[in-house]
């Protein structure tokens, strides 16, 4: 009894200490934010008499980009700040998340309410989720006033794609791209072995088989083969995921967006996993593939692999890079769009800039972005670095080449930061897919079969079914992946277990949820 009392009194003291500390802290925090508050949204809103926004107050903005700075970024930003200070009475402190654990950090930056005036945003960085949960500031009213040029120049459709629950939460980059999945493969081996050209699944299988049989030291997909197998699976069946990664719940095809199913319960799936079992048994990939950290692309470089999953621009980068290190290798590319003959452009918000809710100076930030996007002087500096040091303009007056000073300097490194958020095609001085010569033809092909991306903008936050979603994702990894890689000893049994576990995890609830939300969205947009 006595002992208990000492403990209680002890905790009371601790609480007291805590309270004292907290009050001290909050006072400090309040003091800190007051002076800034004066310059914040409401008061800065009014334009000057000439209709131009008021920039009489000097402001320092904090911007965040993904990835890491270039060694010279500090110098480049200093140059930029000189320009900004003159033109907008503003300076920017440019911070980077670094690639180290960037998702966690990105999440923290937004959740903690840290003062940030602009941050990179993207569908693959959960733009829709963050926007719908209120992490970003709505820009509809600010854009026409503070970023008029951007407001008028960005295509309507791009703004639509950036719209969440009726509001625009990000300024998308203006850089149309197609990034369909596909496979790069050793074309020289195909020719050498007289294998058929890869046009469909059967010829792909024949290719893999031919390579495996003729070259015992080669594992066709050598390393982690999950991406190869999974993207192939989805593309071959024409399954479309809805609203980002929707796991096993898909629209059965592009033409039937409302036919939403959980694919593991289809007959096609059964046939597919049986086929994959034969692929694994034939040694198209190794039995330890799911644990391997090795990229199949690295094995191509060393001559032990033949096939590697890449999206189209990525394939260009890979092939161009390989030409430099291994000129003897000839590569081909098979885009999965050829299974069903349509290609969807990436969403505009694949790369964008957004303003967190906590921003102190959203107006000024938009003004800076407007300059950055539309004034070539700003754009070139922040994208390609300092002219003469990091690049020179080529003879065509448009594209860039390494400057003369780079020739004798071994340490010279092309200026490169994650500038994707403000990329604009018309200002760009570099070609897509790193100038791979095969890309232009491919791009023509994609454009000719282009269909709008109707699936990605469906907004799903899974709130009502989040525990089911978590359980299903888990089941998919534990039972689905080995099955789809053909690694299980008994396919029928494993399939049964997988289906049973999915049911138990509540997959039907998710299908119901996705169906409801998707139909709502399709009704709204008039998609059938």
């Amino acid at each position: 009894m006595y002992n208990k009392r000492t403990k209680v009194s002890y905790f009371l003291t601790a609480l007291l200490l805590l309270a004292v500390f907290l009050s001290a802290c909050t006072n400090k925090a309040n003091e800190g934010s007051n002076p800034k508050g004066e310059a914040s949204p409401s008061s800065g809103n009014a334009g000057g008499p000439s209709g131009k926004p008021d920039t009489s107050k000097k402001v320092e903005l904090v911007w965040y980009l993904l990835g890491d700075p270039h060694p010279d970024t500090e110098k480049v930003v200093a140059e930029w700040n000189k320009m900004l200070e003159k033109e907008l009475n503003t300076t920017v402190k440019l911070n980077f998340t670094s690639w180290n654990d960037w998702q966690t950090k990105y999440n923290l930056l937004l959740t903690s309410g840290e003062k940030i005036d602009m941050i990179f945003a993207s569908t693959w960085a959960d733009y829709y989720k963050f926007a719908s949960q209120g992490a970003f500031m709505p820009l509809d009213e600010l854009l026409p006033v503070y970023a008029p040029e951007t407001w008028s120049k960005v295509p309507k459709q791009d703004w639509v794609e950036a719209t969440v629950k009726g509001k625009i939460y990000a300024v998308p980059a203006t850089y149309p791209e197609y990034t369909p999945d596909g496979l790069v493969y050793r074309e020289d081996w195909r020719k050498e072995l007289g294998l058929p050209e890869i046009t469909d699944l059967d010829s792909l299988e024949a290719y893999l088989d031919g390579v495996k049989k003729a070259k015992p030291d080669v594992t066709p997909i050598n390393g982690k083969a999950w991406n190869e197998a999974y993207t192939l699976f989805k593309a071959y069946h024409g399954y479309e995921q809805i609203g980002g990664d929707s796991g096993v719940v898909v629209a059965r095809s592009y033409d039937t967006p409302r036919d939403i199913i959980a694919y593991p319960f289809t007959d096609e799936f059964e046939a597919w996993v049986k086929r994959m079992k034969t692929w694994a048994d034939k040694g198209f990939w190794t039995s330890d593939s799911l644990s391997s950290q090795k990229e199949a692309g690295d094995a191509i470089r060393t001559g032990n692999g033949a096939v590697y999953w890449r999206n189209a621009p990525g394939a260009g980068g890979f092939i161009v890079g390989l030409k430099e290190t291994n000129p003897e290798i000839e590569m081909g590319y098979f885009p999965f769009t050829r299974f069903h003959h349509y290609a969807m452009p990436t969403l505009s918000v694949n790369n964008a800039m957004a303003i967190p809710k906590s921003a102190a100076n959203p107006e000024r930030s938009l003004m800076v972005l407007d300059k950055l996007r539309n004034d070539p002087k700003h754009y070139d500096l922040m994208t390609y670095g300092i002219e003469g040091t990091h690049y020179s303009i080529a003879e065509d007056g448009k594209s860039i080449v390494p400057p003369a000073s780079a020739k004798n300097n071994k340490d010279w490194k092309k200026y490169d930061i994650a500038s994707w958020g403000w990329r604009i095609e018309s200002n760009s001085r570099e070609k897509q897919a790193s100038g791979w010569e095969g890309f232009d033809k491919l791009l023509e092909e994609f454009k000719s079969i282009s269909k709008p991306n109707i699936f990605a903008p469906v907004l799903l936050d899974y709130k009502p079914v989040k525990s089911q979603q978590a359980a299903v994702n888990q089941v998919f990894q534990q039972y689905g992946q080995p099955l789809m890689m053909g690694l299980v000893p008994d396919v029928d049994k494993a399939l049964e277990v997988f289906r049973k576990q999915l049911k138990a995890a509540g997959v039907d609830d998710i299908v119901e949820y996705v169906k409801t939300e998707a139909n709502k969205h399709f009704d709204e947009k008039g998609i059938n």
Partner: protein
């Protein structure tokens, strides 16, 4: 005194040498593989995996690590500074707390021990902690964010308390009778008697400062404040990201750093223990403590 060693001692030594040698080999071999891996050509590692003796020696990984020597030197400075300051301050606070909790006449020692231990069980997670440091304390991009949070650890305090408990009460009691205050007893008597414990906790503190990249990862945005481990992790992380879906957005001119880089960074980081450890070992000499005071 017998000079001849007893039979039992011979047996003991034989068993001891065997076990220690085996365990040492188990620790050494993988490390040798890592060292040799760091000197192997990238393509060889990818094609054939680790080997004790590489076919072809390559310095590429080290060239990549030291591609910006000024930055590495600076990072070393930051890390050494943090390690020295953090270890000394941490050791002072930890030993004081450990001393207080080990005093048997101190009534609240159990309650306070519980207060401290409880923090190892429950945590509010990363986000509130981050908010505390960034918003309330304003330590974003400040060395304080690297220094303070890892200065005091519950485990270290409890271990310290345990080490100090073994100091006989008679020593402190007699000092007390002589009129020495609590702090004097701690400073003049208990600390000198606790050298093995201090060396151990000091080593642990130093290691945690030396190995920290987590705090820097969260809080540091200026490159000139990067500690060593974070700088190295950053190089590795950009290599890893280049291999994910995000890679489609990256300029392909950017060559991913080599697989061997992982190993080279491990070697670069481990180096200093070779210097630090023997220094710590000096305090693991038997009989140094009690005897010295009494004699």
């Amino acid at each position: 005194m017998k000079i001849k060693t007893e039979k039992s001692t011979v047996a003991f030594n034989a068993i001891g040498y065997t076990i220690i040698t085996l365990l040492t080999l188990a620790c050494l071999l993988p490390f040798l593989l890592i060292v040799s891996g760091s000197f192997t050509a990238e393509t060889e590692i990818i094609a054939e995996g680790f080997k004790l003796i590489p076919d072809q020696i390559s310095l590429d990984a080290y060239k990549a690590v030291f591609s910006n020597p000024a930055q590495i030197v600076n990072a070393y400075k930051v890390t050494i500074g943090l390690t020295v300051v953090g270890t000394l301050a941490g050791l002072f606070l930890t030993s004081m707390a450990g001393y207080v909790l080990s005093r048997k006449h101190f009534k609240y020692r159990n309650g306070l021990s519980f207060f401290i231990y409880f923090t190892t069980l429950f945590s509010g997670g990363l986000i509130p902690w981050y908010i505390l440091i960034v918003k309330y304390l304003g330590w974003k991009d400040s060395y304080l964010a690297l220094l303070i949070p890892s200065m005091i650890g519950a485990w270290n305090i409890i271990l310290m308390k345990n080490f100090m408990k073994s100091i006989p009460d008679s020593i402190t009691e007699s000092a007390k009778i002589d009129g020495a205050g609590d702090f004097t007893i701690y400073w003049k008597l208990v600390l000198p008697l606790s050298t093995p414990g201090l060396a151990t906790i000091g080593l642990f503190l130093a290691l945690s400062y030396w190995n920290d990249w987590f705090l820097a990862n969260l809080f540091i945005t200026s490159e000139n404040k990067y500690p060593l481990q974070f700088l190295l992790y950053r190089i590795l992380a950009s290599a890893a990201v280049l291999k994910t879906n995000v890679a489609g957005n990256l300029s392909p001119d950017f060559k991913p750093p080599a697989e061997t880089l992982k190993m080279a960074t491990a070697v670069v980081v481990t180096g200093p223990i070779v210097f630090l450890y023997p220094f710590v070992q000096r305090y693991f000499v038997k009989g140094l403590t009690i005897g010295a005071v009494k004699g």
